[in-house]
Amino acid sequence: MRFVLLQNYGEVASMCPPMTEWSAKDIKAHIDFQHAMNADLIERGELVNAQGLAEPDQAKFVVADGAGGAVIIDGPFPESKELIAGFRLVDVDSMERALEIATLLSAAPGMGGESIRQPIEVRQVMSAPDPEM
């Protein structure tokens, strides 16, 4: 079963301030944690992909104008908190395991090494259909 674990720019349960206000040591601990998570997921044979996305103010929205062209909207966006910050695609044996990974991710270290308690959106990826037997 595949799941995407999504993180956005929304508020975190710990009320931890944004990373721009953290010490270099805290930032390093956070990045090391993310790398260690990926290494562990690879070691378990579960990681398919992990990507961080560029900042929301670099995002663009493209809307077709109905005449073959498009309107392209540049940031910044007032709803930037809803934009995706990054994702992991994992291939695991069960929903329980996906939730377990999300629990670990949500507890990533933030300012002063405290858990950020960031919400992780867990979404199952559609699979291929079974044969009609």
Binding site: G45, D91, M126, P131, M133
Partner: protein, 420 residues
Amino acid sequence: MPYTAIDTEHLLRSLAPQVLGVLLRRDGDFTAAEDAVQEAMVAATRQWPLSGQPDNPLGWLIRVANRRVIDERRGDEARRRRELLASSWSLPDPEPLPAHDDALLLLFLCCHPVLLPASAIPLTLRAVGGLTTREIAAAFLVPEPTMAQRISRAKTKVKAAGSRFRMPAEEEMHERVASVLRVLYLLFNEGYATSAGPDLHRTDLSGEAIRLSRALVAWLPDDPEVAGLLALMLLTDARRAARTTESGALVALAEQDRQRWDRSLIAEGSAVLNEALSRRSVGEYQLQAMVTSVHSRTATHGDTDWTEIAALYELLERLTGNPMVTLNRAVAVAMAEGPHAGLALLEPLAARLGSHHRWVAARAHLLQLAGDEAGAAETFAQAAAGATNLREQEHMLQLAASARGAGAAHDDAVVETGHS
């Protein structure tokens, strides 16, 4: 004919389980031996097309793989003892044991009941099927290091379970064969389910499952369930061309152009099935193959003998107790005796399957058969919301829309009648 990379690949794949068998007999360490065979195969893939195939390819592979095992074990020490090792390489080739025994024993190891299918399948493809990690990773759309780790952990788990490279004891034989059949069945499904559209370039996993099942029939000729599984795969695979549109959309069984079914696969599958049935020891794969066979020999969907299919599902239900089988039976009964008989079988499953989109979809179909288009439209939409695969979801959305359309047309007709 010039010697090509394709020749190397075919040869290597047939030799891989034999090499592994020889190593396991010598040493018994599944994890190390399997890795070493994989490395030897990769080395052969690189070297043979350039330098030509060795006179004794099996001996070459055994020597190279054996060297890897020893190197791995001794680590740095290996370098210091190179001379000593060199003498061991020049030992005469061991007399290879009959290949089929080794591959069968490997199949028992790789499909060990302690493994979940997601691990057993890639391990089987590598150790018995002779595919490389890269090919397997590509087939499952997973990065190579992730797949390598999954295979490595699977081997560790088999080792920890204390499984040995030998025939399972008589009393566990049934469970072990059942485990192998299940892995091959799921491997087939994995390939069949994704054999369309953008995934066409993927390794032919269904073909692998059929290849391994054919071999298994030869190794275990007295087990009719093994033949039953092969028959099921052949009869199902025969529909492949009719099962998707050119753009990769799913075509339901009822709408498939049966002219496009592969007659030779059907003939072969039917022969295998009949031979299995003559042994008079029916099992779940033979029963499933029988259901598939009813469709195979029916010219049009409208002519289907639903009474026979319902009876087969009833046997299967008694054998497995699987509620999904009851669901299939309910649909067959609805086709044979009318939608209300089917719905009566379906409703009691609500407690066990009520949230499963397949149950919801079956209910929607039966409501539609019963003429309740509005109820069907609502229920198809509900099934679409619960679907966990895209093609099924698209299919459900379309059925919901056409049920809504039919309901609306029906309402219009009523209004018009009211006016006249």
